[in-house]
């Protein structure tokens, strides 16, 4: 069953950017796309487990800060070497200006 966790306020994430979130010792990354939609993925790159929240968001792509592995954060799809394994994604809902992720 999906458990909804309040992660942050909508204003905490800048447009076309990423925010780190931790729950139960697990790292997540929360994104706000240029068209103002929110997404959530696992917090670590699937290549060498670097934290993605220090990476660069361009359009719908997050790039790992260490070796430039790239992922579509909306679908989790890995976009080529060194990122070869897809990123896990989580459902997101917004209620009263609060972002909830389903874990």
């Amino acid at each position: 069953m999906t458990q909804w966790i309040a992660a942050c306020g909508v204003d905490d994430v800048d447009e076309e950017d990423v925010l780190p979130f931790q729950h139960d010792g697990v790292d997540y990354a929360i994104y706000r796309s240029p068209d103002d939609t929110f997404y959530a993925t696992a917090g670590h790159c699937t290549h060498e487990r670097e934290l993605l929240c220090d990476g660069l968001v361009m359009d719908r792509v997050i790039e790992c800060p260490k070796h430039n592995g790239r992922f579509d954060y909306a679908t989790g799809k890995a976009l080529g070497a060194p990122a070869l394994v897809d990123l896990r994604t989580y459902p997101v809902k917004v209620e009263n200006d609060t972002i909830y992720i389903g874990v």
Binding site: E16, L51, D54, G55, L56, M58, E63, P65, K66, N68
Partner: protein
């Protein structure tokens, strides 16, 4: 021996080992031979002065052992190529074997520059790193000659192992080659904080028996280990003997913007070559990303893609908890703009006389500087001429400057 058209790569380092996979990715289904003088599987050099030297990690392969087999690459390890028979398009190995090539890629890299001194160790290969690691025992007195990247990473790793480290640098400051003074100063402070004795403006006159360093200041320094990081020399012997053009300024194998040597069937890439860059003129780089980027361009051009190499140079170094990154070449710039973020991270941008962004350098802990330097790299690639005041203002997003640059056609 096969008479089928073959791609042959000399040098199984970062660049050569990447290039064979790029050849497959670019669609080459014929034979590929990779010849490496070292008797080991291709490995990454950057960790050798970092986690491998501290003992925190084992050496890392460029790609794992199965990958070479799956890509159907014939890997000849532990044999150097000794000659190129250009009349017959054959590579000659030290053991006498001849390998016919349709196209040949020289990815022979560089080796550590030697000093005319006895009793000094160097760090370039995995074997160097493993031998050195065993000698860096807690309490050992380590004398590092050279305050460049290799010397400083060595100093940080030896300190982590509990050694007492002295760095001797002939220039008045650390990292005097290609790093802005203010960035180098942050690095110098961190070393002093860690207890490293940093002596700039000091040369080494001689190494006496039993590791006694005689300095140009007249002082002597007792060391258990003496190791030098004083630059690298490109491996050009093979090319030179074969009569290929060598650049007389950068000393590398001279190639054009397609990475082609003076022989149309032979290309050169990575640390060993001197190449023309659209922004920086003729350069030779010693950098991991460049070796990788060159491998991509060279592999495609071996297969007649006829594409110029235009990637923006990028370099990083890790020392202690510090991460330093440089996009572009700071030496090429004529003016500087500093952008100071509210969290203290400072990025130093270099601009050319016409206002074109040419470089960005920053140092910080963890991945703090990664995003800004990456955006700077994209701005440089877009030939951006950002307004200096906007560039300096942390409230102007670099992304906005990038968007503006991409929507303004730049002069060709």
């Amino acid at each position: 021996m096969s008479t089928e058209r073959a791609m042959v790569v000399v040098g199984a380092g970062e660049c050569g080992a990447r290039a064979v996979f790029e050849l497959r990715d670019a669609g080459w289904t014929g034979p590929i031979t990779l010849v490496g003088a070292e008797d080991v599987h291709p490995y990454e050099r950057p960790p050798l002065s970092k986690a491998v030297l501290t003992g925190d990690a084992a050496p890392v392969p460029v790609r794992d052992a199965d990958a070479l087999r799956e890509a159907d690459v014939e890997f000849v390890a532990g044999v150097a190529a000794s000659d190129i028979d250009r009349d017959r398009n054959e590579l000659v190995l030290a053991d006498g074997r001849r390998i016919p090539y349709e196209r040949l890629l020289l990815a022979t890299g560089a080796s550590a520059r030697r000093l005319p001194l006895f009793g000094v160790s160097y760090l370039r290969s995995q074997a160097d790193a493993l031998a050195l690691r065993d000698r860096l025992r807690p309490g050992a007195r380590v004398g590092v000659i050279g305050g460049g990247f290799i010397g400083l990473e060595l100093a940080a790793s030896a300190t982590a192992r509990g050694c007492a480290v002295t760095v001797v640098e002939a220039e008045p400051r650390l990292l005097s080659r290609a790093v802005p003074a203010e960035v180098a100063a942050v690095v110098a402070d961190r070393h002093e904080q860690a207890g490293v004795d940093v002596r700039c403006g000091t040369g080494v006159a001689a190494v006496r028996d039993r590791g006694v360093l005689e300095l140009t200041t007249g002082e002597t320094l007792d060391c258990d280990v003496v190791v030098a990081g004083v630059g690298a020399v490109p491996e050009t012997a093979l090319a030179k003997n074969a009569g290929l053009a060598i650049d007389n300024v950068e000393n590398g194998v001279r190639v054009d913007d397609r990475l082609r040597t003076s022989d149309p069937d032979i290309f050169a890439a990575g640390d060993c070559c001197s190449f023309p860059h659209p922004l920086y003129g003729r350069i030779r780089l010693e950098a991991w990303r460049n070796a990788h980027d060159h491998a991509v361009t060279a592999a495609r051009n071996l297969l007649d893609a006829d594409e110029p190499h235009t990637a923006v140079p990028w370099f990083w170094s890790d020392q202690y908890d510090l991460n330093l990154q440089i996009a572009g070449l700071p030496d090429a710039a004529t003016s500087e703009v500093v952008r100071q973020r509210s969290d203290g991270v400072e990025t130093r941008f270099g601009l050319g006389a016409d206002g074109t962004l040419l470089s960005a350098a920053a140092v910080g802990t963890g991945n703090a500087v990664a995003k800004d330097v990456r955006l700077a790299e994209m701005l440089i690639a877009a030939r951006a001429m950002p307004d200096p005041a906007s560039l300096a203002d942390p409230d102007t997003a670099l992304k906005a400057l990038l968007r503006a640059a991409k929507s303004t056609p730049q002069p060709a």
